[in-house]
Each structure stands twice: as C-alpha cells, then as structure tokens.
C-alpha cells in the first residue's frame, strides 16, 4: 500500500493547495476538505482511527496529543497508517516553502513504501 497523506487541522489548507499545484500526482488530503470536512472538529483519536482505516498517513504539528495515542495503540496492537510529526521549531508555520519541500521529498523517496505503523519525525539539519 503506497503513501497517502492527510494534513492535520494545524496545517494550513493553503499549504495543501500549493503542494497539489507543485506535485499534481501526489496523493494528499487536508482535513479541511476530506469528506467535506466532517472530521475537522473530531477528537484526535477518532481522526486517527478513521484515517487509519482509509490508509491515510497523518502529517501533524501536534506531538503531545498524538504521541500518547500511538503509545496506547502500540501496547494494544492496534494499527495505524503512519504518522509524520513536524516540529514548528524545525519548520515554522510561515515557512510554506520549507514545509512543501520536505513533504515533496518524503513523497519522492517513500511513496511506494508501506506506511503501516510507521512514524517519522521531520527535523531540521542546520548545517
């Protein structure tokens, strides 16, 4: 199952628009419009559960809420379809270019991989 991304509510839909424009073939959704935005105000665990069954990998700035869910699911053997954590100290909210570049590269290098139960962290190399 190849990589399909879903951008969390803490990532601007404008970033989604620009990624789609730059990379039309990428399989990516934003929670703002996925399923007419019905998941937008749902609890994080409900979102992760729903998108996992749709094999969508979550991209999020939210480390502190998602991490305990992944821990609990890990202990209970429940699967997810992958999570990519972004740190706002690595890629700030207004660095649309940096964010888009990072997602584009992850897509280019990993889009044929199976992302089941995979977790990635986007960090900044300051060299």
């Amino acid at each position: 199952m190849s990589l399909s991304l879903l951008l969390d509510e803490n990532i601007s839909p404008e970033i989604f628009n620009q990624i789609k424009e730059k990379l039309p073939d990428i399989i990516i959704e934003t929670i703002y419009i996925w399923r007419e935005g019905i998941m937008k105000s749902q609890p994080d665990e409900v979102i992760l559960d729903t998108i996992s069954s749709e094999r969508l990998t979550l991209v999020t700035y939210d480390q502190k809420t998602i991490l305990p869910i992944l821990m609990r699911w890990g202990y209970s053997g429940k699967f997810h379809a992958g999570v990519i954590f972004v740190d706002d100290r690595s890629i700030s909210s207004k660095d649309y270019g940096g964010f888009i570049r990072a997602i584009t590269e992850i897509w280019d290098l990993n889009n044929t991989d199976d992302w089941m139960n995979r977790v990635a962290f986007l960090g900044m190399n300051r060299i």
Binding site: E9, N10, S12, P13, E14, I31, Y32, M39, K40, S41, Q42, P43, D44, E45, I47, Y61, D62, Q63, K64, T65, L67, P68, I69, L70, M71, R72, G74, I84, F85, D87, D88, R89, S90, I91, S92, S93, K94, G98, R101, A102, T104, E105, I106, L109, N117, R118, V119, A120, F121, L122, G123, M124, N125, R126, I127
Partner: protein
C-alpha cells in the same frame, strides 16, 4: 488564597460529579473536579469562542468550531507575530475566533506557553518511547538531505 463555599447540590448532580472525577482519574476528588468545572465554566463565560474538552493529555481549552486546542492556534500565531489578519490566511476561521484565542492567551499565557513547550517533545525523546521512529532531516537550503536514522 481560597475560601470555603457551601453549595446545596442535588444528589443526582453529586453522582454525576463523582463519575466525572473518576473518569479523570489520577486521584481526582469530587471537590477538585467541582472546582475545575467551575473554573472552566467561568472561563467559557468570560471568553467567547472558547470551550474545554477532554483530550488524551487531559482537559484543554479549544477554539470553538474547530478541532484546534488554543495552544495549537497560538503556536502558529506566534509565527505570524500574533497578527490576526495574517493568521486567518493560515487558518481559515473567522477572525473573531482567532482574536478570541489571542485574548484567551493574553489572560492565560503561562498555561498556553507551557502547553506549547510540552509539544516540543523532539526526536530524541520520542525515540525512547517509539524506538522505530525515523528522522527525516531537511535543510534550510533548497536541497533536502533525506537522511534517516
């Protein structure tokens, strides 16, 4: 400073309060749970577009009509110098909701800043909890290193 306040509460409400306290766990008592709910309710009354909800990390204030905790709004807002006009270019919500989140932050900045700081778990700490986590490094420049460890 605190005061002892006597309240006549219906039996059925006490049962619900006890149930709520048990759900929160961590030794939460009826009294502590009652004070917490009262505090949350007062804040919701004093600040528009704010509501408290359960989350995997406990009760948190959220921006009404969204799934965003206030700390998530402010974390992004700080990147835009707390300018509501700029923030709505990022978050497609009514400017009144964004301003309400900023008002709340101005009143409870210590709590919200702590929540933002708590979100900076970082790769090294996450790796202790999730040993299989992978690091993807991006550079400031146009090139992307794509290294993993």
């Amino acid at each position: 400073m605190s005061q002892i306040l006597s309240l006549r509460i219906p039996d059925q409400m006490v049962d619900r309060l006890d149930k709520f306290a048990r759900r929160l766990g961590n030794g939460m008592t009826r009294t502590k749970a009652g004070v917490m709910l009262l505090e949350e309710s007062l804040r919701e009354t004093e600040y528009s577009f704010i509501e408290f909800r359960d989350s995997p990390v406990g009760r948190q204030p959220y921006m009404k009509g969204s799934g965003l905790a206030i700390w998530e709004v402010i974390m992004i807002a700080k990147g835009f110098d707390m300018d509501a006009e700029q923030i709505i270019q990022y978050y497609p919500y009514p400017i009144a909701n964004i301003k309400a989140a900023i008002n709340y932050f101005n009143a409870y900045s210590e709590e919200i800043n702590q929540a933002i700081e708590d979100n900076h778990i970082g790769f090294d700490s996450m790796k202790k909890i999730l040993p299989n986590i992978e690091l993807f490094e991006v550079s400031n420049e146009e090139s992307f290193l794509g290294s993993k460890r």
